[in-house]
């Protein structure tokens, strides 16, 4: 009597059901997190000392007249009870209305939607570069004996420790001022994207390479690698067909976190390289205390982050069937 494939049949039957369930759970979670971020930000902003109406008019120095203040309060709905303001804000949020900038007097949503693209292009190209270089580095450092291993570790560590703003300065000094190869500030084209991308990518690559190298070493110790070798697989084949895949798993699942890290870094990098984007907008808004913009950026980034984690989660599940089957056993 041979055992049948009943296990696999069960997997099959419930797969679509489970994917749907997973999606619903994730979307529900995402909605909750967005709501919570919005709520948290709304109330946190109220902690700012001083009168928001005054902030609209340019801060405590403006010494605006009571009349003007009242006018602003009415315009911005600041005279309503807090609960009503909150519900209004949520309601507007649902329609994609993020309010009006204090300083620029334009709708925040319009402003940010124009800035989002630049930041995402920067972040994703940095993510891609970081990914590729981390992969290359860890392939090299796990394959070349002890010296390569040590050098690889040293490179990872140093890369991960480099502050963006310092790196940016040094890169501009070398590649723009000294060598004249690359434009120091954004050109709007690909060439101008190189330095900011590299600046953001290097520390991230250091982080990712650390994780990838450890995973790769663990993978190379795994019995299935012995199996593969026993089939006559070459070292290159082992790395390409097996180790690479396993090493990219943690990197995939870390991509959500990495994107957040990159957007944080964009604050500095966009300012130095004079790129338009969320980071630079945020920094300016922080120094101007332009609350609606700060709130808007925070919400937008949270949204991007959430979408990204769902995507990476899905990618992880695609790449690693163990995640799909392990789910139910929790």
């Amino acid at each position: 009597m041979t055992p049948g494939l009943q296990t696999t049949n069960r997997v099959d039957r419930s797969r679509s059901h489970r994917v749907l369930r997973w999606l619903l759970v994730r979307l529900g979670g995402a909605a909750f997190v967005l709501w919570a971020v919005a709520t948290l930000t709304f109330f946190a902003i109220r902690l700012i000392p001083g009168d928001p109406a005054e902030a609209v008019l340019g801060g405590p120095g403006s010494q605006a007249s009571q009349e003007t203040l009242d006018q602003v309060r009415r315009d911005y709905g600041l005279d309503l009870p807090l609960g009503v303001q909150y519900l209004n804000a949520l309601g507007r949020l649902l329609t994609g209305d993020l309010g009006t900038s204090y300083a620029l007097k334009v709708p925040v949503a319009d402003l940010l939607s124009a800035q989002l693209g630049g930041t995402l292009i920067l972040a994703f190209s940095a993510l891609l570069v970081a990914w590729a270089s981390a992969l290359a580095l860890s392939l090299w450092s796990t394959g070349g004996g002890r010296i390569a291993g040590s050098v690889g570790q040293a490179i990872e560590l140093t890369a991960a420790a480099l502050p963006h703003f310092w790196l940016a300065t040094v890169l501009i000094a070398i590649f723009s001022s000294a060598l004249g190869w690359l434009p120091p500030v954004s050109t709007g084209g690909v060439l101008g994207l190189i330095l900011p991308t590299v600046t953001l990518a290097i520390p991230l690559a250091g982080f990712l390479a650390q994780v990838m190298r450890e995973t790769m070493l663990d993978t190379l110790d795994a019995p299935f690698i012995v199996s593969a070798r026993a089939r006559g697989e070459s070292e290159g084949g082992i790395r390409l067909r097996h180790a690479l895949r396993h090493a990219s798993l943690p990197a995939i699942s870390l991509s959500g976190w990495a994107l957040g890290y990159l957007i944080s870094g964009a604050v500095v990098v966009e300012t130095i390289f004079a790129r338009p984007g969320l980071g630079r907008t945020l920094l300016q808004a922080v120094t101007l205390r332009d609350v609606p913009i700060v709130t808007g950026v925070v919400l937008l980034v949270a949204l991007v982050y959430i979408v990204m984690t769902i995507l990476t989660d899905a990618a992880s599940r695609l790449a690693d069937p163990r995640l799909r089957t392990a789910e139910g056993e929790r």
Binding site: G61, A103, V106, L111, Q115, P183, P184, V185, A274
Partner: protein
């Protein structure tokens, strides 16, 4: 100098024109090919890198600060301008006359000018602009204050606009020369503030094409331009096809971009880069100090301990700034001993008042009762430490200036002053000033002519104006000084007025109310391929009407 990014307008004011031209200094090596390429070539795009804050509104009527002025000069024309000798010259107005009582001004306008939206420029347009500036809803600050004495404007005919004043104002022409009072299309204004902020419509040599926030403003040539100021080098449209006006906040990146040829000209040049650029053959330097007040530290006489003149003098005798200015500014800033910019001909200097003398400072403090010193070496009186709060706006003081303040802090300590520097963002800085919570402050003030002194040192300026800003930060309250300044603002005789201002400056300097440092720094660096760039002799903003690019 850095301008505040918001409401800075309050500081930038018109003034009665002292006929001092703005020095336009072109330094750096002129390329050998100068003669070969001296014929202007049309076409090309100039890339301008601004280190000033990005304006929140491009309409200089709204608020009215220096970053707005920098841009507005490219697409708006004013009624009048000034030449490099400081004389008022025709621009959109061809001629003007004033009544004997000084209360009625008639301006005759060019009759063939249209705004870039097709609206004809006429007396009605002038009337609409003045009303726009005076309308509180516009939230104008600079323009509003400058038109303080203007009651109304009447269109006598299409080409004659009549200004009616409630008091004589010899500063009116200078006020009208400033970019914050430039003329916009009435149709443009009628679109409402939000739209007008995005792309104001003027008669200028360029037109706002697109404003990509946090990045740049695209300006394209006004092909129908026919209204250059009287001192322009050519007629008709500008040579340049377009200007890309980029915002590059990081000074090192900005300079690197200039070196790399990515931008053609930058503003807010840092001192060390000026020094470096002057050593090259590919970069040139325009030094255009802003008019109005010099850059100076105000000593707040309105509160202890500087309500005691002896303490003020002790402070000024104690601090040593000359070495610092020399090293931090790499020789690009000249020490000033005057309340007024070197651009102002009536500026009065007295170097002897500012010689460093630590012994004298100590003696003064001893007699003022600050005899004891605490463990840290600071003087104390009645258990109170001799502390000086020095709020510094990071928007208005460049790094070199902040370093200079640190050096002042260090040298003042030798005499026993505890200078407490705090770096603040603009709104916090205003807050601290409003609460009279400072002893020292550096607040640059751009304004054409010596009338700036009235704004800064008349006791009226201690009480906040309706706009909220008070300008008399040293809180000098001296009836004699008030009288001198008021009379000077209304008198028409130049010599007499110069004398009044000199007396006034003497009172300010000898009262040890201020520590002058240098002119308000306003440096541009540009590639030598940029020809014919100059700063307008009004508020020293660059103008690119006559500019052309040699290698394109």
């Amino acid at each position: 100098m850095h301008s505040p990014s918001r409401r800075p307008a309050r500081r930038a004011l018109t003034a009665i024109a002292a006929a001092s031209g703005l020095a336009l200094l072109l330094t750096g090596c002129q390329p050998a090919t100068e003669s070969a390429s001296s014929t202007p070539v049309a076409g090309g795009t100039l890339t301008y890198a601004s280190g000033d804050a990005e304006p929140t509104c491009l309409d200089p009527h709204v608020g009215g600060n220096y970053p707005q002025a920098l841009l507005a000069g490219q697409f708006l024309d004013s009624l009048v301008s000034r030449n490099s000798e400081g004389e008022i010259i025709p621009w959109l107005a061809t001629k003007w006359s004033v009544s004997d009582d000084g209360l009625t001004w008639d301006f005759t306008l060019k009759d063939d000018v249209s705004f870039t939206d097709g609206t004809p420029f006429d007396a009605d347009a002038v009337k609409v602009n003045v009303e726009h500036l005076k309308d509180p809803a516009t939230e104008s600050s600079t323009g509003y204050l400058a038109l303080g004495k203007v009651e109304s404007v009447t269109a006598i005919s299409d080409t004659v606009a009549q200004f009616t004043l409630n008091a004589p104002d010899s500063a009116l022409l200078e006020s009208l020369s400033m970019p914050w009072l430039a003329i916009e299309s009435p149709a443009g204004i009628a679109r409402g503030m939000e739209e007008n902020c995005q792309a104001p419509i003027g008669t200028g040599p360029f037109v706002v094409d697109d404003w990509v926030k946090q990045d740049h403003v695209s300006l394209v040539r006004n092909e129908d331009y026919n209204s250059p100021p009287a001192d322009a080098q050519h007629d008709g449209k500008a040579y340049l096809e377009a200007i890309e006006w980029r915002f590059i906040p990081d000074s090192a990146s900005r300079y690197a971009a200039l070196q790399a040829g990515q931008v053609d000209i930058l503003d807010n040049a840092q001192p060390d880069t000026i020094a470096a650029a002057e050593k090259t053959t590919t970069l040139a330097h325009i030094d255009a100090p802003r008019p109005g007040a010099s850059n100076r530290i105000e000593l707040n006489a309105g509160a202890a301990p500087f309500n005691d003149p002896a303490v003020r003098e002790a402070f000024i005798r104690a601090v040593d700034v000359n070495d610092g200015i020399e090293s931090l500014f790499f020789g690009s800033a000249k020490r000033s001993y005057s309340p007024l910019s070197s651009a102002e001909s009536v500026g009065y200097s007295d170097e002897s008042l500012f010689t460093t003398d630590l012994d004298a400072a100590n003696a003064l403090l001893d007699t003022a009762g600050w005899t004891a010193r605490d463990a840290d070496g600071f003087r104390v009186k009645d258990g109170e430490r001799l502390t000086l709060d020095f709020p510094v706006s990071t928007n208005q003081s460049i790094p070199a200036e902040q370093s200079l303040f640190e050096q002042i802090q260090a040298t003042a300590k030798q005499a026993g002053f505890d200078v407490q520097l705090s770096l603040l963002d603009l709104s916090s800085w205003y807050g601290v000033l409003a609460e009279n919570d400072y002893d020292l402050v550096s607040a640059p003030y751009t304004k054409v002519g010596p009338d700036v002194l009235r704004i800064l040192y008349h006791s009226d300026g201690i009480v906040p104006a309706p706009s909220g800003y008070f300008a008399n930060l040293s809180q000098v309250s001296d009836p004699q000084l008030d009288d001198l300044l008021t009379r000077a603002s209304e008198i028409s005789d130049d010599a007499e007025r110069a004398d009044l201002y000199e007396q006034a400056q003497k009172i300010i300097l000898e009262g040890f109310h201020i520590l002058p440092l240098y002119d308000q720094q306003n440096h541009f660096l540009l590639g030598t391929q940029v020809k014919g760039a100059r700063s307008l002799p009004t508020v020293s903003t660059p103008t690119f009407y006559d500019t052309w690019l040699a290698n394109n």
